[in-house]
Structure formats: C-alpha cells, structure tokens
C-alpha cells in the first residue's frame, strides 16, 4: 500500500495556508467606517450592560433646581454635561439607562425572532410539503400587515408592558428570519454534501443540525444585526407614540416624546436621544452591510483591494 502511493503523496505542510477568520479581523481593523460602527456598538453595549444598572436612580431622580439645565456645563458634575430635562433629571443617566432598555427590548425581540425563525425556516425548507406551505402563508400574512400599526393596536388592547412589547416585535420580525433561513436551506439542501450524508445513512434531523445549520447561521447573524437597528427604531417609535415603555422604564423613544413639547426652550432633551437612536441604527446597518460583504467572496476580493491599496 505504502509503496503504491508514497511517490504521489501530497505535501504534508498545510499549516502555512491562512485562516480567513483572522484575515477578516485584520480587514476590519483597516476599514474605518465598519470599525467605528463596531466600536460604537460595543461601547453602547458595555454602557447598557454594566454602567446603566448604577444609574437607575439618577435617571429618575428629579431636581427642580436643575430643570432645563443647559448642556456642556461642568459645574454640576459629569451627570449634567448633557444638561437636565423638564424635571431636572440627568440627561447622561437617562441616555445610558435608555440604551439599556433599548438594547434589552430590541435585543430580546430580535433574539426570539431570530432563533424561532431560524428553527422554523430550517425545518420547513428541508422538508417542504404542507408544513412549509402553511408556514409560508402565515409569514405572508404577517408581512402584509403594517407592523407598526399592528403593534400599536395590539399594545393598545393588551396594555403597554416590556413583555408585550417584546412579543409583538418578535412576531413582527419573525417572517424575515423564517424566509432567510428557508431560502438558504432550500439551496443548501441540494448541495452534494447533503446527498453524501444521506448516502452514509444520516437521519434528516442530523443533516439539518450538522450540515445545514452551520451554513445558514452567519446569514441569520447578519440579518439579526440589521434587524437590531430596525427594531431599536421601532421600539423608539412605539414609545414615542405612548404604547412602548413607561416610567420608570425609559428608552430613547420615551425621551424624545417627553422632550417634544419643550423643543423651543430645551432642544437637547429631544435632540440627544434622537442622535443616539440615529447613530445606533446607522452603526448596526453599516456593520451588517460589512458582514454581508465579507461573507460574499465576490465582494471580499474588492474589499481587500481597497484596503491594501491595490489596483490603479
């Protein structure tokens, strides 16, 4: 045996070929826009998870002496760098605490929608048939309903609460994930390695879990990043309309809504949370776009060229 193949043995040294994961990280470090977006989101996440819990009290403590306290003054300490609101609460504390609820609500909604949609999409894409038909018609129905209007109606009836809000948003976002997962499953199902698994004798459950799931996951993650931005906007919108979060839970939408009537006297109460929403949604969008581009071999070549300054 060894005689027959020893002269045709391929080279043993395969370690020198690079792992694309690290290359991608290096690529991110060289691209200012997605890098900034990633840094902003990470900082916001840290603030929301680790800083915000200490600021709950400050975010709700009223101090009538500091009503409409203007921003960029240092006498009242860092809590009042961005000014005070109509009841003299610290804008900084409110913004950070608002970030926490925004992330928490939007994150949970997207998390629930993504994992549920992922699972349903995999199963209905792999098996097809009546299950798939029913699921996809349901998705069509959800998509045709204007989601904001539907959420408004449901929250109006059920009453606004964090739990209801998450549920409503998750259902509204479910079809996106279901369809993405299903579409990818449909194409991956036809790949040869799935046929190989069947020829080995693997069960459908095993094929879905071992073969298809790992390949659909990155796309789901990319879509989730995009949806996170969209959902944060939706949360802010619903809060602004008064069916979202209620005091003492505040988010940026609530702040914009509260500050609206004082636009003439204290612009900062509206503008700062507005900017926060804008930056976060934008960052999520940019990062999601970048993730998609890097995952696509056609586009990643052009990215590398841009970064390395190639082609002239």
């Amino acid at each position: 045996m060894s005689n027959a193949t020893s002269n045709t043995t391929p080279s043993d040294d395969i370690s020198r070929r690079q792992n694309p994961k690290w290359v991608r990280l290096r690529l991110l470090l060289k691209m200012p826009l997605p890098l900034t977006a990633a840094i902003i989101l990470i900082l916001l996440l840290i603030a929301a998870l680790f800083v915000a819990p200490y600021l709950f009290e400050q975010a709700n403590r009223q101090n009538l002496r500091l009503r409409f306290y203007p921003p960029f003054q240092t006498e009242q300490g860092w809590l009042f760098w961005l000014g005070g609101d109509a009841l003299g609460r610290s804008m900084v504390a409110e913004l950070i605490y608002g970030a926490r609820t925004s992330f928490l609500v939007a994150g949970s909604a997207v998390g629930v929608a993504a994992s549920l949609g992922f699972a349903i999409g995999l199963v209905s894409g792999y098996f097809g048939g009546w299950f798939d038909a029913i699921i996809m018609r349901l998705a069509d129905i959800i998509v045709t309903l204007p989601s904001l209007l539907m959420a408004l109606a449901i929250l109006f009836v059920l009453g606004p609460s964090v739990f209801n809000l998450i549920c409503v948003l998750a259902v509204a976002r479910l079809p996106v994930f279901m369809r993405t997962a299903r579409a990818q499953t449909l194409s991956i199902r036809e790949w040869t390695f799935v046929e190989v698994s069947r020829s080995i004798g693997a069960s459908p459950a095993r094929i879905i879990w071992r073969d298809i799931r790992p390949l659909v996951a990155p796309t789901i993650l990319t879509v989730a990043m995009l949806e996170l931005g969209n959902t944060m906007l939706a949360v802010a919108g619903l809060s602004f309309l008064g069916v979202g979060l209620q005091r003492p839970d505040i988010d940026w939408g609530t702040m914009v809504a509260e500050g609206r009537q004082y636009m003439n006297v204290a612009w900062w109460i509206t503008v700062f949370p507005g900017i926060a929403i804008l930056i976060t949604a934008l960052s999520a969008n940019i990062l999601s776009n970048w993730m998609r581009a890097v995952g696509d071999p056609k586009q990643s070549g052009a990215l590398v060229a841009k970064v390395t300054g190639g082609g002239n």
Partner: protein, 324 residues
C-alpha cells in the same frame, strides 16, 4: 463462506431497474424514462464502468441504486438482500455496505467540518463500530490508506487542493468498510495532473480491499484502463454491455463506435462534422432511441424498437437491429 451446496448470490444484482419522472404539463403528462430496464451484476474486486454522455441517466442510475432517488420499478439485491423492499430504517443500515464517491470534491465536503470530523461522521451515524475514543486513531489509519499524513486531520477543506479533497472523500467512503463503491465521475472535476494519482489510489485500494466498483464516467480512455466490464448508456438504457476488452476492441452498437471515434487524441484527429445532437428525451415515440443520430438508421429503426442481441461472447450484448 457459505455451504458449498448453495451458490453465493452476486455481490450486487440489479434487475429491470427503472426510474421514470412524470412531468405534468398543459398538454397532459409526459414521462421521462431517465433510467429504463437496467440489468447487471457486480462481484467483489470487479470494476463495472457505465459510460455515456450527460443526460444519459448515469447519475440517476447511481442514485436509484442507493435509493437516494426511489426507483420506479425493478430490484436491487445486495448479497441476496433486496434493497428495494427495505424500510427507510433498514435502508439506512444497509447503506453501510454501499458507499459513493461524488464527482466534485469541492461540493461533497462540508466546508465547516474538519477532515477528522468528515471521515468519522459515518461512525457517528452508525454507532458501535468503534468506541469514540478510537476515532482519532482510525481517522489516521484511513488517512494513510488514501496517502495523506495525519497532519490533515484538524484541517478544514478550504485548505486542501482538489486532489487532497477527493482523497478525503474516498477515506470517508471507506470508513464503513463498504463492499460496493459507486464512483460517480471520481476524477473528472480534478486537474489533469492529479487524475492519474487518484485513479491509481482507487485501483490499489480495490486490490487491497476487494471492493466492487461501479465506475461512472464519460472518459473512455480512462474507462479502458480500469474497467473489467462496460455498459454504454444512452437515454436511460444500456445499448451495449460486456467485457471491457471486447467492447473496446469490437464495439457493436453504432453509438459505442461514435463515442470511441470522437475521443480527441494524439493519434487521430476527428474527421467528421455532422450536427448530430442528442434528441429530446420526450420525443421518442417508437423505434430505437438512437435512430435520429445514427449514421446507419433504416426505416425499421424509426418504427420498431430493437431487441437485445448477443455478440461474439455470450456476456457481450447490444441493442440494435443490425449485427455488423
């Protein structure tokens, strides 16, 4: 083996195997006979080649044998056991004995699994072959069988060349120690400088392990080197089959002759330029499927389907009205 009085059934016996696809259309249903009435047997250490052009039904035949596609009719027996009558659960178990190597090693290996995971996957599906602790050792043994070093075990497929990938695919197919290996164009997706390596490896493995090979290919020069038996497939049927030496030396069916004449090689440049395209598989109403392309077609060929004739050797048969 078994008692001397009873004859051992063939390793693989295929009888009357057909796979028809019904396509529903406005003008009524149409039947595509992708595989039609296929008969052959395969013994250990034997290589049976199935040659034909794209659309001839070679790959559909391979998938019907394994019941990756459900055959319309006919039987497949493995050592006397009917694969076609098995439940899905029994079938999953039986697939241990028949494994397949696919054409494209870039598509047949999962991009997110390491070489070790890919090769040991069959053992994870069929528990109890080796204890889990032995997987790493057994993977190394299989890697060395296909001429790769153990260094490849933790590597992901993207780091391998086409030839290395196909070796991994072969190692996976061997993991369950199959008795029959279906090789679906195993080298046609590889670079020319790699093809000979992989062919030699496969044939050496057959010598060592006495596996029966079903070698599907369109590459006639290659088939000539490896096959013991050849079947020429055209529009779902075997139009000629027999011992490889005999079919290559004395082809009897006009289609076999046409295929052999069309091979571009250093000795002869092809000389004819007729526009002889495969016919639409739905158009065949009566007569011989090859008649529209056949240089020697007569009226009878278009009206009556030809019968099977026997050539100089009893094992050599072909389907044609004429016998020269």
């Amino acid at each position: 083996m078994s008692a001397p009085t009873t004859k051992t059934p063939p390793l693989l016996q295929v009888e009357g195997l057909s796979k028809h696809f019904v396509l529903r259309g406005r003008g009524g249903n149409k039947t595509l006979r992708a595989v039609d009435d296929i008969n052959f047997t395969l013994e250990p250490s034997e290589t049976m080649a199935i040659v034909g052009e794209s659309g001839s039904g070679k790959s559909t035949l391979a998938r019907s044998l394994l019941r990756l596609l459900e055959p319309t009719s006919g039987t497949v027996h493995l050592r006397g056991q009917s694969l076609t009558d098995m439940t899905h659960k029994q079938l999953r178990e039986a697939r241990r004995s028949i494994q397949m190597v696919f054409q494209d090693p870039y598509a047949s290996l999962h991009p997110r699994h390491t070489v070790a995971e890919i090769i040991s996957e069959p053992w994870r599906v069929h528990r109890g072959i080796y204890p889990q602790a032995d997987y790493a050792k057994q993977v190394d043994i299989l890697l060395s069988k296909v001429g790769l070093s153990p260094n490849y075990a933790p590597a992901y497929p993207y780091r391998l060349s086409g030839g290395e990938r196909q070796r991994v695919a072969i190692a996976r197919a061997l993991a369950l120690a199959p008795q029959v290996l279906i090789l679906d164009e195993p080298v046609s997706a590889l670079d020319v400088s790699i093809q000979a390596q992989v062919i030699k490896l496969l044939m050496q493995l057959q010598l060592d392990m006495q596996i029966g090979y079903l070698f599907i290919s369109h590459d006639l020069p290659l088939v000539r080197l490896v096959a013991d038996k050849v079947a020429v497939m055209y529009m779902g049927r075997f139009v000629e089959q027999g011992p490889a030496d005999e079919v290559f030396a004395a082809p009897r069916h006009p289609y076999t002759k046409m295929l052999l004449a069309a091979v571009p090689n250093r000795q002869n440049a092809p000389t004819n330029e007729p526009a002889s395209e495969p016919t639409n598989p739905f158009d065949i109403e009566a007569g011989c499927a090859f008649a529209p392309r056949c240089p020697m077609a007569q009226d009878i060929c278009r009206t009556t389907a030809p019968n099977r004739q026997t050539g100089r050797l009893a094992a050599h048969s072909f389907t044609c009205h004429f016998s020269q």
